[in-house]
C-alpha cells in the first residue's frame, strides 16, 4: 500500500509540474506596446516642436487603437494554441484590463487637468503595470523597469509638456522594451 501511495503522489507531482511548464508568452505584448508608444510619442514630439500641424497628438489614437486590435488577435491566437489557462494568465489579464480602464479614465481627465497633468500619471501607471507583472511572473527586469517608470513619472511633474514626451519614451524603453526583450530571451531558454 505504501508503494502504491508513493506512486500516486509521484503522478500528482508530475502532472502539477506539467501544467506549470507553460509559462505566459507575454513578451510580445511588452515589445509591441513599447514600440508603439515610442513611435507615437516621437511623432507627437516632432509635430509639436517642428511643425505647424494642429493635431500634433494624432499618432496616439491611431497607434493605440492599432495596438489594441493587434493585441486582441495575438491574445486570441495564443489562447487557442496553448489549450490551457493558468491562474497567472487570469491574474495578469485582470491587471491589464484594470490598467487599460484606469488609463482611459486618466486620458478622459485630460479635459480637466490638461495633458501636462495627465502624462506623469500615465508614466506612473506604466510603472505599476510592469512592476506587478514582474512580481507575478517572478521576473526581476520587469520589477526594476516598473520602478524606473515611477522615478520618471515623478520627474515628469517638473518638466514642460514637450519634455514629458521624451520621458515617456525613456519610461517605455526601460519598463517595456528592454524587459520585454529579456523576457523573450528567457522564454526561448525554457
Amino acid at each position: 500500500m505504501e508503494k502504491e501511495s508513493k506512486e500516486q503522489l509521484a503522478l500528482i507531482e508530475e502532472m502539477i509540474a506539467q501544467s506549470r511548464s507553460k509559462i505566459s508568452e507575454g513578451s510580445i505584448f511588452y515589445q509591441l506596446w513599447g514600440w508603439l508608444v515610442v513611435v507615437a510619442a516621437s511623432t507627437h514630439y516632432y509635430l509639436l516642436n517642428y511643425s505647424e500641424f494642429k493635431h500634433h497628438y494624432i499618432a496616439w489614437p491611431i497607434l493605440m487603437t492599432l495596438g489594441g486590435i493587434i493585441s486582441m488577435i495575438i491574445g486570441f491566437k495564443q489562447e487557442k494554441k496553448k489549450g490551457v489557462k493558468t491562474h497567472i494568465d487570469r491574474t495578469l489579464s485582470y491587471l491589464w484590463i484594470g490598467f487599460t480602464v484606469t488609463l482611459i479614465l486618466v486620458l478622459i481627465s485630460m479635459i480637466n487637468i490638461g495633458p501636462e497633468g495627465a502624462y506623469p500619471i500615465v508614466i506612473l501607471l506604466y510603472g505599476l503595470g510592469t512592476f506587478v507583472s514582474g512580481g507575478i511572473l517572478r521576473f526581476k527586469p520587469l520589477v526594476i523597469g516598473g520602478a524606473v517608470s515611477w522615478i520618471l513619472g515623478i520627474a515628469a511633474l517638473y518638466v514642460n509638456f514637450s519634455d514629458q514626451l521624451l520621458l515617456i519614451i525613456a519610461a517605455v524603453l526601460f519598463s517595456y522594451i528592454l524587459p520585454g526583450y529579456l523576457l523573450s530571451k528567457s522564454e526561448k531558454n525554457v
Binding site: 500528482i12 502532472m15 506549470r20 489549450g83 490551457v84 489557462k85 493558468t86
Partner: protein, 94 residues
C-alpha cells in the same frame, strides 16, 4: 486504522486529470490528452465520470468548426483531491 481512498480518484488517469486541473484555471481536451498520454476514448469516459461526480466542470463550445471541450476543477473536486492526498500521506506514514 487505514482511511478508505476515494475510488473516483484512485485510478491513474482520473487522478492525473484532477492533478492537472488543480493547478490551472482551465484546460482543453487536447491539452489534457497530450499531458496525460491517454487515448481520446478513454479520456472522454473518465472526464465524463468526473463530471458526473461533480469533481470537474465541462464546457463544450466550438473552436472554428471543431468542437472544443474545456475542463476546470470544482470546489467539490478540489476538496476531494485534498482529502485523497492527505489519505495517501497517512499511508506513507508522514
Amino acid at each position: 486504522m487505514f482511511k478508505s481512498l476515494d475510488p473516483l480518484l484512485h485510478s491513474q488517469l482520473r487522478l492525473a486529470i484532477v492533478s492537472l486541473l488543480i493547478s490551472v484555471e482551465s484546460a482543453d481536451f487536447t491539452f489534457i490528452k497530450e499531458k496525460t498520454g491517454a487515448t481520446a476514448g478513454n479520456l472522454s469516459v473518465q472526464i465524463d465520470k468526473l463530471e458526473k461526480a461533480g469533481y470537474i466542470k465541462v464546457k463544450k463550445s466550438f473552436k472554428g468548426k471543431r468542437p472544443l471541450t474545456t475542463c476546470s476543477i470544482t470546489k467539490k473536486g478540489s476538496a476531494a483531491f485534498e482529502e485523497y492526498v492527505n489519505h495517501l500521506k497517512s499511508y506513507i506514514g508522514k
